[in-house]
Amino acid sequence: MKSVEELKAIREKALKEISIRENENKTRIVVGMATCGIAAGARPVMNAFVEELNKRNIKDVNVTMTGCVGICRLEPIAEVYEANGEKTTYVKLDAEKARRIVAEHIVNHKPVMEFTIGAAEK
């Protein structure tokens, strides 16, 4: 170790890897991973969330799974819970849509209205 900067660089990189173990005041993206969700393609959706967050170096968002939400026909479903309590439900997702949710909702704080349950049920 030749400099403090070097230590900081390692810290940043490693912090990204272990940030999953912190869950205070974090936004959570919860993906429905029951049989219905998995069958409809929830797994690539979840992986897309994880990859996109990592690519963009976002550490304050955790991706978790949940069971069946009850509206199996709209799977894959993911819900975004913000630290302030706001909840947005997205339906009929795929990997591409997941990446857009990260870009627009998580990064720019603008929910992607066209993927929400409200839009799908109109």
């Binding site: 170790m1 030749k2 400099s3 403090v4 230590l7 390692i10 810290r11 990189k13 490693a14 912090l15 990204k16 890897e17 272990i18 999953i20 173990r21 869950n23 959570r28 993906v31 429905g32 991973m33 029951a34 049989t35 998995i38 979840m46 992986n47 994880v50 990859e51 990592n54 955790n62 991706v63 978790t64 799974m65 949940t66 069971g67």
Partner: protein, 596 residues
Amino acid sequence: MIYRSHILICNGTGCVSSKAPAIMEKLQELLAANGIEKEVKIVKTGCFGLCEKGPILVIYPEGATYCRVSVDDVEEIVNEHLIKGRIVKRLLLGDPNVEDVSKSRDNVGFFAKQVRVALRNCGVINPENIEEYIARDGYAALAKAVTEMTPAEVIAEVKKSDIRGRGGAGFPTGMKWQFAAQQVSDQKYVCCNADEGDPGAFMDRSILEGDPHSVLEAMAIAGYAIGANQGYIYVRAEYPIAVQRLNIAIKQAREYGLLGKNIFGTDFNFDIEIRLGAGAFVCGEETALMTSIEGKRGEPRTRPPFPAVKGLWEKPTILNNVETYANIPMIILKGADWFSSIGTEKSKGTKVFAIGGKINNTGLVEIPMGTTLREVIYDIGGGIPNGKKFKAAQTGGPSGGCIPASHLDTPIDYDNLIALGSMMGSGGLIVMDEDTCMVDIAKFFLEFTVDESCGKCPPCRVGTKRMYEILDRITQGKGEEGDIEKLEILAESIKQGALCGLGQTAPNPILSTLRYFRDEYEAHVKEKKCPAGVCKAMLNFEIIADKCKGCSLCAKKCPVGAISGEIKKPFVISKEKCIKCGVCMESCKFAAIVKK
């Protein structure tokens, strides 16, 4: 690599012996079978502290804490939690009805009252991965010390924090460092005492197993402060996992240039080597420890000169305990004021206790100084099993003493414990219930000291042996008038005459049990009775004729055939044949057998 989920599994000695490695293997196997081995990461971590409920496994990002996990539970955890995202509630630690799973363990008293400074990384990081330590601000304190502070400033900060040695005596760490720094010498040494010898204490082992880098970092900071370039960790060979993790940690620190030459591009050089101890209790005494590192027989010598003046190989040396070191990086990073805001007026910071004995939550806890014994035993420790009454707690191991129920509300700090006739020691806390005989306990600790006395000075070598003989006689029902007084005289002379701390404190268990439970000693000597019903020589098992139904169960269970009688008539125990094992009493369904 980024994973969607991390499974942290305790790999401390406690959980390893309750099959954590087999659970890990099964996890790996099932992750691969389900094709999710690239999504879920298995992380070996250090002790969570709740050894009683081990093996413990925490799954993130949910933060679900599973306890007493067995190999058979792994399949359910993988299928339910990892594949379907459903929490396996039956294995959850704490309240399963709490909506936010990560909060369920906050309701567990064991965790709620703890403040983790020395144990900050235990159960959070993988101790075999230096980068995880760095992610948690590891080595940032060393960086700050060597690039922004002078050695004098480092010492001033440690002095200002008021941290006192966590190994037993409670000497102010900053003063120790200053004495060594003031010495002019071509060579100085930094040593770490990891020769944890108190029966029942295992906090140093857990820190070395769960967060070895914190000790390495602190030793390097100490080296910078006093002007030393070489450190030694003296650790007992009975701690194989700790030794292995230390070796890995030292190797990684060298690879990353955090040990070695020109650390952080400065002209500060520091390296650390491990020395294995053979497990002698006396080698936890500072002068004996250094003699042992030098390759000689581990015997203490007189002080002064103190090690800060003439220590290892006659060079100025500082020796601190593992837990003390684990606090140092936090003091440098967060500042002395932060540290001294925790604790009481004269005892700052936190202390780790290993709670054992008659207590529900056996394990490791870190509490702010000034927490009362009652909070530790009842709120954190979960109270005494089987509804028994608390009798006393032994702190400080064989050098300490007992604290009776009347002092349960005393805030725990260095000075209060000394005033009660005990001591902080390294932090072993053995809880005793009403079924414990205090004379027997004193005998137990003295037997340990007799065994571990190095034999160099007569007060310890001969004195503790004589005290043990008297205690043995008392517990055999052969105590004589004047024995208690003899014990007191011997205890005082050993305290004054012994060469090292081990001998000087060896009479403490007797003195403190005498102070609080003199009536029990008197009952043994004068009435030849053991009030707690422990000392076998004074026990008699008897069958109460009125209650005995003559079922013959006890006679069948008796291993020596001491019970006889006719079916449906009261049975009798032969006093000559009885070996007082108590099996009959346990087997009797009518509570017809009593011990007197």
